[in-house]
Subunit: 398 residues, 4 copies
């Protein structure tokens, strides 16, 4: 008998054990109710107000299904479920929106923050009280626990299975619909490796293409990228001005960060108001992967880690357009990642990489680049002015 049943619109009834219920009842986990899963995306897809809270419950549920499917030991089962439940505990406000700041202000990853949160909070107490080791959970989340780790974060992981279907449900975008039953019911453990049977190949292709199509349509939609860039600049300034520390920021929820923006004066307050009223900056210039070419694109991506250099470019662009710093934003997304190629598939009894057997998956590596582009944004009223300057964007970059 479960300690509790929670209703989820994606998976139906989700069963919760006593230990899990106590974990859910910690302040650290309840905070996830106030972290939107898709950050600024609700400015584009108005119903995308779902949070990390229900996503985490969904991940727990899928962990349970995997446990049954693979016949995991009681111990593994418990560990996997709890790791799935807690995997997003370290998220900052607005999910991925704040994650960009991690790269700039910290050498910690989002997983690292999750580990810290687990270790230094009521969560650890609850785990101990149930004879569970916080260290073990962290090991699963940080990748050190073999197949258990791959189930949380790998090629066909619980995290992705849940968020694709959930994001489709809440945005209304059809591409995220995937065949969960087929995916789960064709998974196997083979020599400690999580592999999918050949007859599950279409389901994996479906999953990877779904993610591929969701990227430009939802995850990197240009409007939410602009809102992200505005928010990031405001937070950057707040940190620089020591209005709050980076660590404080990462522990906020969406409510706090919104109220912080509103209550701040000057530029930060203005961005807060603009986000509230959806008076977003506009795209002035867009450089696509194809227009840039492989080499120049790579150099731009390198810039991402050189925060001072980026700020200087933005400052110069603004000055030349006779604007203050912060009114010209340069947005360089990270390079699209390609690990999907590596997903192991069982073909005629042998473990192969999916990239070898599926031309469809193979092409995603190249095709993803068409979704990548660099953008320059400015307030609507200054677009023309900035456009004149940004025409020569390349000269600023070199």
């Amino acid at each position: 008998m479960p300690a509790k049943i929670i209703r989820d619109p994606v998976h139906g009834d989700v069963f919760i054990t006593e230990a899990e219920l106590e974990l859910i009842d910690t302040p650290e986990f309840q905070r996830l109710r106030r972290i939107k899963q898709l950050g600024m995306s609700s400015l584009v897809y108005p119903s995308a107000n779902h949070t990390r809270f229900e996503h985490s419950l969904g991940a727990l549920h899928l962990a349970g299904r995997l446990v049954s499917r693979l016949g995991l030991s009681q111990e593994d089962a418990c560990l996997l479920r709890i790791a799935a439940l807690l995997h997003d505990l370290g998220h900052g406000p607005l999910s991925h929106t704040s994650e960009e700041l991690l790269a700039r202000y910290s050498d910690a990853s989002h997983e690292k923050l999750t580990a810290e949160t687990i270790a230094h909070s009521e969560v650890a107490d609850v785990l101990h009280s149930h004879g569970l080791s916080p260290g073990e959970v962290v090991r699963v989340l940080e990748g050190g626990a073999g197949y258990l780790s791959r189930m949380i974060s790998g090629e066909f992981d619980i995290d992705r299975m849940d968020y694709l279907v959930r994001d489709a449900h809440h945005t209304g975008v059809a591409y995220g619909v995937i065949d969960l039953d087929r995916l789960i019911n064709t998974l196997h453990l083979r020599d400690g490796l999580l592999v999918v049977e050949e007859r599950g190949l279409r389901a994996v292709e479906g999953l990877l293409v779904a993610r591929f199509l969701m990227i430009p349509t939802v995850y990197l939609h240009h409007t939410s990228r602009i809102a992200d860039a505005m928010f990031l600049k405001a937070m950057e300034m707040a940190v620089e001005l020591k209005l709050l520390s980076f660590r404080e920021l990462m522990r906020m929820d969406d409510f706090q960060v919104t109220c912080f923006l509103r209550s701040a004066g000057g530029y930060i307050g203005e961005i807060g108001e603009r986000l509230d009223h959806r008076r977003l900056f506009k795209k002035v210039v867009q450089l696509t992967w194809n227009s840039l070419g492989e080499e120049r694109a790579a150099r731009l991506i390198e810039l991402r880690s050189r925060v001072d250099r980026l700020a200087r470019i933005e400052r110069e662009l603004a000055e030349d357009a006779k604007l203050e710093y912060g009114y010209v934003l340069l947005d360089i997304p990270p390079e699209p990642s390609y690990q999907e190629q590596e997903a192991p598939v069982l073909v005629e009894g042998e473990v192969r990489r999916i990239g070898e057997v599926s031309p469809l998956v193979r092409v995603l590596r190249v095709a993803q680049k068409t979704h990548w582009s660099v953008g320059v944004y400015a307030p609507e009223e200054h677009v023309a002015k900035v456009a004149r300057v940004a025409e020569a964007l390349e000269s600023y970059l070199t």
Copy 2:
């Protein structure tokens, strides 16, 4: 060609005209993005984070479908769509949660506040600039525009059609599924009356039963009622202590009100923290309609409008349990309303009331009372203590 298309997970593509887009872009309308449709319900149904914003777009969409179905004039069409879009503009934070305060601190209805918001904001300017009259829109919303008003708020209205389906989509509760196509495609205008054909009778029954089942399952779920009661008491205190005015409160959004609770000290701050961490009061006593009997129930409902009397009872209960005021809450919901009986149906060419032709609808009037109950709530650690006092609840009430 629409000025914009917005994707909705319930209705698919929603088409927006230029005037509607400008209305959506006002701060008053954007605020609805931050007013949860179901207030505290997300504490029970974690995915119920949808807002008045997307519900209003959904109402607009259904208005458009009705316009086509009934062949309304261009003028009526425009008016109905805009009224549908703006019908929730006056909602306070957390939707119905704050609406309870209206009865206590104001003689204004929620419709009245909407009218004020339309008249005294950018909304009026936008309407004027498109040759539309704010007064006309308000007239539709306040019930003075015959069938147009009934379409917004009547027996089978746009508002209800949208929220039932939407709430089902986001809570995952199946009961809200209704046959929108059948409902809309069997509606007629007859002598200025909105009637449903006989072959649409099942669809109307379906709608009314859906609402009936959603009430105890979602809208009056005891956990969200407890959270509502806690929130209301905190806000009542804030108004009494003049920390903010009732009008200010009603103009807040969910973010502001949450941050206000958090930043307040004392009882109000404690309630804020409890809501954040879902450490809710527990039910101590419950009196059902059946256990009370018609007459006593009626007398209790009368108490609702006598705010001072209610406060005194709560104060006495608390004192006798050796607790401070605010730690024993008495929750008396409004009497279930029965207007559904009146919905006009076209049977063999004659307009009849649905209550006459449908035994199923007729019984809802009585059956609804089984969903009504009075509750006494207190912090978990004090439940035993309060229970002893509240056993004699009736003596406090008289």
Copy 3:
């Protein structure tokens, strides 16, 4: 590991054991692929072409869910699953359409025919070869196995849960949507009784209302009733003329019976062609329960079992309208049944009847009668003629 996984659009992946797979592979079970679940309903809802085959798999799947939920013994589990799988084996062509003939030509029930089919076919061999007893399975199906029997056919049984959702999926009618998760996860075994917890009450009400709304909308839609009546008259004649025996008829599938009708000459062949081309008879007269009054309605229902009397009335009506026998059809449906009232619910620890605690369920008993009516049908070209005669229908009946 399941022996096989079959994909179902309603339940997703359905897991099948080896024994079940062998049962599915018998000719008796494969025949169900060619028996439409809803008989003539596809003449009204064109997509309602689903068959007893997938419904039986769905019932098996729900049996499996019940087994897990209730923690049944291995033996009970196996028995329940197989009984669910085989419960419709005795259906004649076009499902309920042919079932009407049972009452007229046989004292056997549909369950009786299923029992016979199980006992005298390959099915029994397969059961024996897996150490299972056909007699035990039959006992479950015929009601002699307590809670196991109730799970197959009772107030909230597997059969109904599957067909409501499945019929909704294939007709597109929304009313059949029920909360399967809630229903199943609130069921309990208590002293050998299958009861639903109080918090499952809404789900049961939802189920019963869904069925209530599906009856007039789908199951007793007047157009499929007309097609049923035509088919029945043709088959009656075929049996009377000894073109085939009643038993042969009941073993046919939809394909055979269709080809039989087509290849027959005279009236039977004409009906076959009319059904093929959807040139259905039309309703001439309709007498509702209300117009008749309780007593006269009851007397009409009595007529159902007096086949000769019914035929004589039809013959007289036809003669007076100067038509041949078979061109005026008198259709008297069975009295709506009311067992739903009896469903046991656990309220505050006590087992109560749902009819006692739910006014909504209580009213269904009365309300169902509004769905019942007697019809007289004739070919379109003769409607006027027959109408003149049938005006005096009551005089024929007495």
Copy 4:
């Protein structure tokens, strides 16, 4: 006001005009009720019993949506809707299963048969009586009417949009889910060309990938291919033995052809029984595109049109395995087609081919070949015997 509304589980209410209703009421159209959309696929996906009838209604509905979207003239609108409604009138029994015979016994295409059916039946009379020209409708269906023809059969046509979603609904396979709203609402007519806007590109990619994934999962599932091959061989023999003519065969419905198989003796009757009881042949050998290489695969595909040669090979294989002709089947599917590349997309104001702008679509051309394979099938009891012979399959082929 529509003359009739028909409920469809995929599109909801479908509106029908008077002329369309009369067309639906012709015997030729009613016959489509008895032609399964997916032929033998229900042997794999038990719920895939949907027919060409509801698919044709769905196509009509989508035609109506396109008409509104593109603002077509009254005349074009009427023509497109009717062409969509009638586009499958020429299908033989079991849809594509019998279509294979066309290539062998006739130089007519399936479109040609549709044209004949329209011209020489009641359909033409109905069209004339509404002032419509059968010739015009046929011109649209045969490709001579520019964009109207492309809407029925092109890169993103009505036919495909409907069947993908419908097949997903009835099989339960998720891949067929496509974004109909996005697809339709981003289509444009530009200089008489049907093009999709750039922001509809993901929707088109989604459509094409959906089809790509449905091919191996449903349309070319090896089990239904085996059943197809068995059926085809039986029908070939029936035609050779002059038990019926090819033209008669193509006018049959699924019921007739099933009864024909059953009533025939010898091999044909055996196949009928095997299909009824799902005792299918098994795959003995499979040659994939990759294992064969481009050139040899091409030579095999050439064999398809040389019916005598194919029969001789099958005969030799059977003889060498000491079996009668018909018990070794050689199944060579047609070459996967690649027209998708050509779909016109509007990129920055210019019409481009989708193959140029979408690497994902480009790869489908190559990737489709992984779904193609040649199979040799034989009864289960003879698989070992045939396997020994078929090892040297290549020598038979040359």
